[in-house]
């Protein structure tokens, strides 16, 4: 399961952005997730080869961060914040509603849809809040949570975009979002053009370090 030439070019470009190639491990792990849908052992071995460390060292890093998923998540990952502010505003009920509707207990996936609880996602002013493939919904209610699940299941959207989600299922926000944008996520990893993980990856790679 080796990487496409395009991905390898991207890897090289990412590595060149840092003074030390080991620093590229985190971005490369996202790249690996995009390649295989989740972080496979092969992916970690790849990253190890590209950054000149052992697979065990890469695994040590990967397992430290909760966003590197080492089990298949499916197409959509719903992360419901259950930290203090969201908790105070009824996050547990939202999580439960979503688990019920999806028929997937937190921390698991049915191959299409994964549900998890998340620690504070920086949306406390719009609590309760959740992420779909890391695209944010603020002020969501249990009912909207149920609708969200149905929308994902029936609509099978190719791209998840936070502004669309917010209009469909959101409520009060932490602050005035004001400006819409149309880029979004294509899998259970953050949509960020330099990583090639977004729907529109734009020019992204350039410019880089003037090394």
């Amino acid at each position: 399961m080796s990487w496409s030439a395009e991905t390898l070019d991207r890897a090289t470009a990412l590595i060149s952005k840092y003074p030390d190639k080991r620093s590229a491990i985190m971005p490369l792990l996202y790249l690996a997730m995009k390649e295989d849908g989740y972080l496979t052992d092969e992916g970690m071995v790849r990253v190890a080869e590209l950054t000149g460390v052992t697979p065990a060292q890469v695994q040590a890093v990967a397992t430290f961060y909760v966003m590197y998923k080492r089990e298949p998540q499916g197409r959509y990952l719903i992360s419901v914040c259950t930290s203090i502010s969201c908790f105070l505003m009824g996050a547990d009920e939202v999580l439960e509603a979503i688990e019920q509707a999806a028929g997937v207990p937190a921390g698991e996936s049915d191959g299409e849809l994964a549900v998890e609880h998340a620690e504070c996602i920086g949306a406390c002013g719009g609590a309760p809040a959740c992420l779909v493939n890391y695209e944010l919904i603020e002020g969501i209610t249990p009912e909207q949570g149920v609708e969200l699940v149905a929308w994902l299941r029936n609509g099978n959207p190719d791209m998840i975009n936070t502004d669309e989600l917010q209009t469909l299922f959101g409520g009060r926000t932490s602050f005035d979002w004001a400006i819409r944008e149309d880029n979004g996520a294509i899998g259970p990893y953050p949509a960020f053009p330099p990583l090639g993980t977004a729907a529109d990856n734009g020019s992204a790679l350039e410019p880089g370090r003037a090394s």
Binding site: I25, F64, C120, P190, F192, P207
Partner: protein
């Protein structure tokens, strides 16, 4: 009311994120001014302005800069990991006004003779990260970044680095490890003070997003103007993230020195459904709680919060009304720190989890009369005397931060906690599992 870091986005709601808008409004002039000044001049201005870090440590930014060791290359790292529960201010600054941040980065870089900067943004912020990335690319395109910026001889590269879900990476030395492609474990201080041995063991300045966002305004309007904004010792404004049981949660750019009453009741609209205010956390989940009887009319300043045994921290205010089950709230806070502990230090790794287990047992109705004392003793093993600021037994303050909620519970709501264990069905718990 004076707006510093949120002013521009207020005036240009529709397009505050665009390069054109920013430049049309005189953007990057401050950066240009900075390029014509010496390191000493710039450090002096920032010192003069009294700007203190907005990441939580509230340390003088000018001072920090002046400590930067002479060795080069040196690095600038912008801390956009914003993960302290209750905090969502940096997100707004990143998303709504990315060029203000980049201009601040240029100023901080020039002031510290740094030619390479990293903006570390938490992985759960892809939209803010996309906005900043776009702005960085525009800045390169217009010669504001890269080789010989703005026609000067000064080179500056900026890279946006995405985190991957670890609160501890907000701690500056953990962040540097993370940026080096390692586990986000905090380093020992001493000897690893970033200003001396930071990224790749080279001198490094780490500043919070909001701190950096203030710089263009300070350079543009001067230190005296910045000082004049507030009557209190803490100069300028700060972004308070208000959340929880208030009518109008949100980010409010306020001036140091107003009272909690003003913030919670006037600015944030008071308590939802006109309920009673029970308690609030003044400076993010790490901070010991305040209660109305004691603190409602205290002015909001660094020193007043410290004097009252807590901290202003990251400016996150979490409000709880009288319906709140404080034991459940405390458990939720402790659970956060237990889950986010990096695991290096025995007291934090084992102690925070133990605290959470006890609280969960209490909530499940299996609390024992000895549990409150046990909560206290376990806390004492992480943070001696449950003091604030903590006498920590750990490498970084995360462990002791978990103690704040327990301390507040035992200090302000003991009866309620006792009621909790008293009311508990006396479910026998297997003693011996852990008996030595």
């Amino acid at each position: 009311m004076t707006r510093v870091v949120t002013g521009f986005m207020e005036q240009h709601p529709a397009d505050s994120h665009l390069y054109e808008t920013y430049v049309a409004a005189g953007g990057y002039d401050a950066a240009r001014m900075a390029l014509s000044k010496t390191r000493d001049e710039l450090v002096e201005i920032v010192k003069e302005s009294g700007l203190i870090g907005r990441g939580g440590a509230l340390f003088s930014t000018g001072m920090k800069w002046s400590f930067l060791a002479p060795a080069r290359p040196a690095y600038l790292v912008v801390n956009g990991d914003e993960s302290e529960p209750g905090t969502f201010k940096d997100r707004q600054l990143l998303e709504r006004d990315p060029h203000q941040l980049i201009e601040g980065v240029i100023i901080a870089a020039v002031a510290n003779e740094v030619h390479e900067a990293f903006i570390y943004i938490r992985g759960e912020y892809p939209k803010p990260a996309r906005r900043v990335q776009q702005a960085v690319e525009d800045a390169y395109r217009h010669g504001l970044l890269g080789k010989g910026i703005m026609g000067s001889g000064y080179d500056l590269d900026v890279t946006v680095h995405l985190g991957a879900g670890a609160y501890i990476c907000g701690e500056e030395t953990a962040l540097l490890n993370s940026l080096e492609g390692k586990r986000g474990e905090p380093r020992l201080k001493p000897p690893y003070f970033p200003a001396a041995k930071g990224l790749y063991m080279l001198p490094t300045i780490v500043n919070n997003v909001e701190t950096i966002a203030n710089l263009p305004h300070i350079i543009d309007k001067g230190a005296d103007w910045y000082r004049s904004i507030s009557q209190s010792a803490d100069t300028g404004t700060f972004l308070a993230s208000v959340s929880g049981h208030v009518k109008k949660p949100g980010n409010y750019e306020i001036v140091h020195g107003i009272t909690w009453r003003e913030l919670i009741f006037d600015i944030a609209g008071g308590i939802r459904d006109d309920n009673q205010l029970k308690a609030w956390i003044p400076g993010g989940a790490s901070a010991p709680w305040f209660v109305p009887e004691l603190h409602l009319d205290d002015p909001i300043t660094k020193d007043d919060c410290a004097a009252a045994g807590s901290m202003l921290g990251s400016g996150a205010v979490i409000v709880m009304d009288h319906t709140t089950n404080v034991v459940a709230a405390a458990e939720r806070l402790v659970r956060f720190f237990a889950e986010e502990s990096c695991g290096q230090c025995t007291p934090c790794r084992e102690g925070t989890t133990w605290l959470d287990m006890i609280l969960q047992r209490m909530l499940s109705g299996a609390g024992r009369s000895v549990d409150l004392e046990l909560l206290h003793d376990v806390s004492d093993g992480i943070s001696v005397g449950l003091a604030w600021p903590p006498k920590q037994t750990t490498i970084c303050p995360l462990g002791p931060s978990a103690v704040s909620a327990v301390k507040s519970l035992l200090e302000h709501f003991r009866e309620e906690a006792e009621a909790h264990v008293a009311a508990a069905r006396q479910v026998p718990v297997s003693i011996g599992e852990g008996a030595a």
